[in-house]
Subunit: 431 residues, 2 copies
């Protein structure tokens, strides 16, 4: 049963919101903004505006039980509340924004999006990155092991590892090219130098809602309800640092210099109509173990796109160039719920504001690859850009953007808003 | 130059503190305690007592600039202050506790240690675990690659990886045996079952002080000043889960079900006399790269011990059995400062209250091994305990304790206090 907040005919009275590419009234994402040097406040996005929810709550226009959580500078408290509270918030916002007679009450709290600053939406407790993009894992594996690209555990275990929470930043934050230890395969010794193989990774981020105590696994049937919402996530990767450091304990400095997320949380409630049956597993693949066996529709009908715009392209007035396009449903071997259930299956405690990355979401075709490592075949096949430049990996001044959109026949499609980062040169003084 | 707080002749007037094994007046560790259901408060330990520093500060008996930080329920704010503030605190505490005429002022804030509860001393931002114990890395490597135990990067890179901050607990918290995916090397398929190869890892923990912004590396000359203090850390490890899951991104559920730390922070100031020249690197080892080249005395004269007491031993009134003994100076290929400088060398931001583990600190001899994986040679050589039981890995009811002591001729030795955990059985309902 789909509730009326998903009715594709619904429209907001806010100018420009009806048919907005990302933020029609069916989306109602949650985020944090500020004006000038003002305090950080919780908001939703509607068309080209942000709506100050703290202000609305102060006026008594939102459910009273939410006022304390909406007065915070992050979404953590709001996502610690029961899901029913966020459902109530969605219904209240939908009513305020779709019903013309609420215009007077709401308008004082609307601000043009281009006049505000968006911030990281949570104080992140822990950040974990998964590796559920099977086409990515296969493509990367092929570069190392052409005959046996996927490791034996891949189809049994949703592979994941811990990332660095402190260096997660919101879209738009410049990404400084890191220094690190690099060693070419044929070099006698490593050197300390700026990264030469700087890459992006197209991922979805899952924001955890609620809390489970240490020692209390999350049953697979409850796992989707522990996801408060989604964002885009760019797991910037220094491939040359990674190649030299990652044995035997995994990537470390190759990743933790920066991770970028999109500012808006596309809520689990907004995504409800876009959960579909996962693709059939190939014949011969093992069935998921009982603790990972999800009944129903766990896959996400989300299309994905990556664009690149270099400094020269900006100067020449050329638009961003599409590097790849694909979709999450096809890319993910394990669903969002399976990721959560696996993470907590040993009793690990997950908390509101924890961030889980899916891993790079590449599709099965070359044009749907979610990283330059794949698109340039490990740096061997340069990509030609409009204007004639070529790239194997990212150059200084390059601006990389991730885009996502939940799309399904019969529903208003909703966008995530971009996840952007521009590469700043390595600092000479780090030597 | 050694300041007077390290004078070995100094004694506290607090009963039982003079010559106390762990907490003489030369130690003055920092921690967090509560009484009954009371609030968490910052304290130091002196002999068999804890001294309530929030209470002393309320009375105006401590430097005024520290009052706000000392009124917090964690040490984070205190360790965000400049090092000079923690030095001033140490000197003030030393004066109050060594000078008989302060007895009246101090006594109301003293509580018997056995009447209080100790808590996690920080709200941990990020937790990173390193792998700088070269004898451990060699011994573990030998189990997999007898001819080539150390990977080529080991002597160039202080290997580290991210851990889980949410599941770090204070000494004494029970450790529940985790469930996980296990696969014996000769099994056709993995199974989901309680861990059968549960192990400890003896580590030191480094608590970060101060903050560096993202993009601002920490020069090696400043790196020691970013360490606020040390603790003991038990990186509990499910070896069978680890063996199946860890390729290619490193250990995950094998580790994040629990990590135990000792409650007291042995401050960098208390440890100053125990920093000595590191052992000479073997002939032929590469020199550290410039960003890792530490001048002076970066090694730690800290002796380490692991003890085990089983349920049967407790029932029979047998004392804990010493499993291993060694020292940090001999075990660590990279120093604490090198760990910090490397972590931030790509611009990664470190913050007050971050926790860095050293990795397992095994010495070069069999009796100094910091894990059962090493002591039992991968489970092939059972250890016989007093009372006749044997162990390869940990059994339910086993209590594992880590101990550490900074020791140097001419100085009062100072102890860390134990880092304890008892194994609770796997929960049947997790199946």
């Amino acid at each position: 049963m789909i509730d009326h907040t998903h009715d594709p005919r619904a429209q907001s009275w806010v100018e420009g919101a009806a048919g907005h590419a990302d933020f029609p009234v069916q989306n109602l994402p949650l985020g944090v903004f500020s004006r000038g040097d003002g305090a950080r406040r919780i908001a939703t996005a509607i068309g080209d505006h942000v709506l100050d929810l703290a202000g609305l709550a102060e006026d008594g226009a939102l459910p009273q039980g939410l006022s304390a959580a909406l007065a915070q500078p992050t979404l953590n408290a709001l996502f610690r509340l029961p899901e029913a509270d966020r459902i109530a918030l969605r219904h209240a916002l939908f009513a305020l924004l779709s019903s013309e007679r609420c215009r007077l009450k709401v308008t004082p709290h609307l601000h043009a999006s281009d006049a505000v600053t968006l911030h990281l939406s949570f104080a992140i407790g822990d950040y974990t990155d998964f590796y559920v993009g099977i086409h990515h894992a296969t493509a990367i594996g092929k570069l190392f092991r052409p005959d046996n690209p996927l490791l034996p555990n891949y189809k049994h275990v949703p592979i994941g590892y811990h990332g660095r929470a402190s260096s997660v930043r919101v879209s738009g934050t410049p990404v400084t090219r890191p220094w690190g230890q690099l060693k070419a395969p044929d070099a006698a010794a490593p050197e300390h130098a700026p990264c030469r193989r700087l890459d992006h990774e197209l991922e979805l981020g899952l924001w955890i809602a609620g809390d489970n105590d240490l020692g209390q696994p999350v049953p697979i049937a409850d796992a989707w309800s522990r996801i408060g919402g989604l964002c885009l996530l760019n797991d910037w990767s220094a491939r040359d640092i990674q190649a030299w450091e990652y044995q035997p304990l995994g990537p470390f400095l190759a990743k933790n210099f920066a991770t970028t997320v999109s500012p808006w949380v596309i809520t689990a409630q907004a995504l409800a109509p876009f959960r579909l049956a996962p693709p059939q597993r190939p014949d011969g693949d093992p069935a998921p173990m009982p603790y990972l066996r999800e009944s129903g529709d766990g896959a996400l009908a989300i299309t994905l796109e990556t664009t690149l715009r270099t400094a020269a392209m900006r100067e020449a007035g050329l638009p961003p160039h599409r590097l790849s396009h694909g979709n999450a449903r096809e890319a993910m071997y394990w669903t969002a719920a399976q990721i959560v259930a696996h993470h907590a299956s040993n009793g690990c405690d997950l908390h509101a504001g924890d961030l889980l990355g899916t891993g790079t979401l590449s599709g099965p075709t070359p044009e749907s690859a979610g990283s330059l490592m794949e698109l340039s075949q490990g740096g061997k096949a340069p990509i030609t850009l409009p204007g004639g430049e070529t790239r194997t990996f990212l150059a200084d001044g390059d601006e990389l953007a991730l885009h996502a959109r939940a799309e399904r026949e019969g529903f208003a499609s909703i966008g995530f808003g971009p996840c952007l980062g521009r590469i700043a040169p390595a600092r000479p003084e780090w030597a």
